[in-house]
């Protein structure tokens, strides 16, 4: 060792030194701030010290607000967001997301570029131009969009499910129907924007943006259309069936019934029920041991299958049920086994352990969705739109904890006794009709 010491005269002994103390440099976590402006516009923001900012304009202008004269206009609106003429600033990402309730315009940019990006957002939401020749150029894109959506059987079944379940509003599809493809013109888009993109139905949400800046933008620029616009019709559930036969050997089938509107405690109970029954895999390549549905169906068939509980809530209605994917020959058995599992829950076959697990899974699902900036923005935006406030994850977790076994059982009973809607696609030879299940 003496020889070694001679060979390396500069020994450093770093390990022997005390660990350096790391000081907190002053970034304190901040809360979400929500303000409602007199015009009805809701501003929500969170300073997350991220170098990239994310700004979203959430508008209650989903496809449920389409009328029979302009069905499909939201599909064109989605595609028309690329028609903004001054889109020469390409240092940001922007996207449009539309669901049945809301339409969201989101931009990502670096923190310093927020001003230029706000200009684009304001342009798109308050003064879109929709030149007639540009709108007619969107027709091939609509067709490509629809062809790509037709590739996915899930989309076909879920859209068909909504069409069969409701008489109006919520039955409108996210995609432009075939008969309207060439019949949506720029006047329809202008009118839809005029009627629905009003301040009272908008929320401006930002991550990594100053709240005062957003408020200023909201007051100055997003006040062009005030008022509540045209009120959408209340969705009327009818319960029907739609069958989409095809040559695919896999049968996708959804059986649902009306559940509760979003925001109510019944809706939360349905969410807990969804996770109780099994809502997607939680372990990679796992056998779905925790999912009641999967266990029930695996007793009915040995073929490959998949089953989840389907749950969606809108502002005045909701759907809850089961979604199954199975081989064509086993379709009937799979659907019946899945529904039997739900009935078992309705009849009280739920243990406290199951309930705890379900609640934990639901909380986990919600909290993990908040970990991405997209998920957080979407959560903030939807809450801002519906009740102009933001509930912290802790409050939500408490609400979830307050759901009892009876709530869940009642939810299941509502499903079992409610009028069913069914949508199936694939080779439907062995698939039962809605009145046979």
């Amino acid at each position: 060792s003496c020889v070694l010491c001679f060979s390396f005269p500069q020994t450093r002994f770093y390990a022997a030194q005390a660990a350096r103390k790391v000081e907190v440099t002053g970034f304190h976590p901040q809360d979400v701030q929500v303000t409602r402006l007199p015009s009805g516009l809701v501003i929500a923001s969170l300073e997350n010290y991220s170098p990239a900012s994310k700004i979203g304009v959430f508008i209650k202008a989903g496809c449920r607000y389409e009328t029979p004269e302009n069905q499909g206009v939201t599909h064109l609106l989605r595609l028309a967001s690329g028609l903004v003429s001054n889109l020469h600033i390409c240092v940001f990402l922007c996207s449009v997301t539309s669901s049945r309730e809301n339409m969201t315009y989101t931009v990502d940019c670096l923190r310093d570029d927020v001003d230029t990006v706000m200009e684009y957002l304001i342009n798109v939401t308050t003064a879109p131009e929709f030149r007639p020749w540009e709108v007619s150029d969107l027709t091939p894109k609509v067709k490509v969009d629809k062809a790509q959506a037709a590739q996915s059987a899930q989309i076909g079944v879920v859209e068909g499910l909504h069409e069969a379940a409701y008489k109006n509003a919520l039955c409108n599809s996210l995609y432009c129907p075939d008969h309207m493809i060439n019949n949506i013109h720029s006047e329809h888009l202008h009118q839809f924007v005029q009627n629905n993109f009003t301040s009272a139905r908008m929320a401006l949400v930002g991550l990594g943006v100053d709240h005062t800046v957003l408020k200023q933008v909201g007051e100055q620029f997003l006040n062009i259309r005030s008022g509540a616009g045209t009120t959408g019709a209340k969705a009327q559930y009818r319960g029907g069936e739609i069958r989409l036969p095809s040559t695919s050997s896999l049968v996708h089938s959804a059986v649902v019934s009306q559940s509760a509107a979003a925001g109510t405690s019944e809706a939360l109970a349905f969410s807990v029920l969804q996770h109780l029954l099994g809502a997607g895999p939680h372990v990679k390549r796992g056998a779905g041991v925790a999912s009641k549905l999967v266990q029930g169906v695996s007793k009915a068939t040995a073929d490959p299958f998949d089953v989840t509980a389907f749950n969606t809530s809108y502002s005045d209605s909701g759907l809850f049920g089961v979604y199954t994917i199975s081989q064509a020959a086993a379709a009937g058995d799979v659907i019946k086994a899945a529904l039997a599992q739900v009935k078992a829950v309705a009849d009280g076959g739920v243990t406290a352990a199951d309930l705890t697990r379900a609640k934990a899974q639901l909380k986990c699902h919600y909290l993990m969705s908040l970990e991405t900036s997209e998920g957080l923005l979407e959560a903030m935006g939807s809450q801002a739109l519906t009740d102009a406030s933001y509930q912290s994850p802790e409050e939500i977790s408490k609400k979830i904890d307050n759901i009892s076994l009876t709530d869940v059982a009642n939810a299941a009973k509502t499903f079992v006794s409610g009028k069913k809607t069914m949508a199936s696609s694939g080779n439907l030879v062995k698939t039962p009709f809605v009145d046979e299940i």
Partner: protein, 273 residues
Amino acid sequence: MMSIAARSGVFSPYMQATAFAVAGPLKALVPGVVVKGENILLNPKKKFLCRESLNGQSPKTGPAVTVSINGSAGVRFAHTDITVPDFSDYRRPEVLDPNKSSQDSSESRRTFSYLVTGATAVVSVYAAKTVVTQFVSSMSASADVLAMSKIEIKLSDIPEGKNMTFKWRGKPLFVRHRTEKEIATEAAVSLTELRDPQHDKDRVISPSWVIVLGVCTHLGCVPIANAGEYGGYYCPCHGSHYDASGRIRKGPAPLNLEVPYYEFPDDNTVIVG
């Protein structure tokens, strides 16, 4: 209130209908799209056939569709989706209808096209010729040089019988005011005795003035005026005798003295050249 998250987790990336992420250079998550006229052909890679591959394929909630600009987007196959633009605004109306034969209008179209082409060709050839000649003629002598090629002589300065020498175009010019006797003598000379036969009246415009180049036609020396045996000029180099008209009479010179172009604008001036 809890927003029902439409985001799916890691294991079931399914419910965003048209938002795709291109997974990498080797594998595209988006099926290729070929647009052929009205037909849209997709490239479906149907691969669900085992228990695990179906795992998580069922949707748990309603979908939301995202379209994104310069974000992660679909894959573009440029060679199949670039369309030829519509040029019907610029085409002849006779051939716009794809269902009508274009032979009916072919004669009139051809005539028109050839006529226009021919006329344009003629006009452009003429224009080219004009331009070329203008450029080439710019190399010819300029006006000052041309001006230097003429000489204007006042005849009243030259007395009778006298010969005056001027420098013209680099050569000596002899202007001789002939007396009556000399005129008569020269006119009477018979042409048979002359080496280079030329009558006097062919060599002068006005008989009293003879204007010749003072360059001996033998070897180019300058003859001396009022010398020699014939009352004209004598070249001292080799002994050529010229008469008062500038014709060679004796000696080795073969030709008469050269008479340049001249004219009398009035009685008192002559312009040579």
